[in-house]
């Protein structure tokens, strides 16, 4: 069964929990363990065991009585299902601080994201490489797309060019945009957008922390 066929059946909350189970499996495997029970998974993730069993049955993994789940099998299924075992070609747009940090992050490749080219408009960096990845002028997008057929675009430009660059991505065939800018980009409904704004997360954390301190003061 291919990942495409699973997709419709797996609800988003389950999708969001699966990486937690994967991390626990990796951790336990590194400690030399072979099996993990849903009780153990529950203890490690704070998710109730029955929910875990339900989530894992969505990816066709059923635990065995007493021994639980075989860690190697669970690792393989989860990594495959989450898309980490297939290489997805990507272009990165904007080689500022965050863009450069992501290009330097060899971890992304281990999780299935291979950035094959980067784009910028700054003539001091265009024509050079970052971590071995060539940086082209944005005007070369069409040409590089014909060569690489990348489906994913990583958006790390300043907000004042975010929409313009997103438009270019869509025009030349990018199907999924990983948006690190704090701007909500507008794209056609058949384009996948994954927003990862560090600043939005930061503000959520500040807000909860302030709320907490307010509560403490009330005591």
């Amino acid at each position: 069964m291919s990942a495409e066929q699973y997709t419709e059946r797996v609800p988003e909350p389950t999708l969001r929990r699966l990486p937690w189970y994967l991390s626990v499996c990796r951790l336990l495997k590194s400690k030399g363990e072979q099996f993990v029970s849903s009780t153990r998974l529950s203890k490690e993730t704070n998710i109730v065991a029955s929910q875990i069993a339900k989530d894992l049955s969505c990816v066709n993994v059923i635990g065995r009585t007493r021994v639980g789940y075989e860690i190697d099998n669970l690792l393989q299924v989860l990594e495959d299902f989450l898309g980490f075992t297939r290489m997805h070609k990507a272009f990165l747009f904007g080689t500022g601080r965050l863009g450069t940090a992501l290009l330097n992050d060899s971890g992304l490749k281990q999780f299935g994201l291979e950035v094959v080219a980067a784009f910028d408009v700054n003539h001091r960096i265009v024509g050079h490489t970052v971590s071995g990845i060539p940086v082209y002028h944005i005007s070369e997008l069409e040409k590089q797309m014909r060569r690489h057929h990348a489906k994913i675009g990583v958006l790390t430009v300043p907000i004042d060019s975010a929409q313009e660059v997103a438009d270019k991505m869509v025009v030349w065939g990018i199907k999924a945009i990983w948006n690190f800018t704090p701007l909500r980009i507008r794209v056609p409904s058949n384009i996948v957008v994954q927003n990862t704004s560090l600043y939005a997360h930061l503000s959520l954390m500040f807000n909860r922390l302030d709320g907490l301190q307010g509560e403490d003061e009330d005591k």
Copy 2:
């Protein structure tokens, strides 16, 4: 009215949308504009105008008939409400690739997060500085906490030490953990955890992209 007093009234979905409005205001201000209507905000964010008016009334901002919102005022209220105008002291744990990238990111300081010290166990980096921020051995946490009273801990260690380091943070007084590891850390309920796992976001994007391709093939 202090930020603490707002907190209870603002629902999380609103909290998640406020940074979008802030980004649009910044963008429009950089273009020299002074006012923004909710229609314009709606066009730029793809959020219906009535929802925007409702969200902004949660932070006590009311638009004026015809002219809309004054951008400078909206910027000030949103930045203040989102916590970006107050400096929050933080410690960073784990100076690997991602930790170093975050220490190099001067953008965090503009958004109210000031990392005052970093911790690691690697003797090649302990005793040095990264972007001017001193790196201490984790055993010096208690001492540094007495000095800085940081409330926020940024967790960028490998998963096999994530829980152990989170425990130490809680013991010595950290109240909010910004967790960049893909591990679900377990902490007491009065500790704020903000999860920002790049790999979980990546898998959500892959999954939606695969689903999309499945749909295309069906056509």
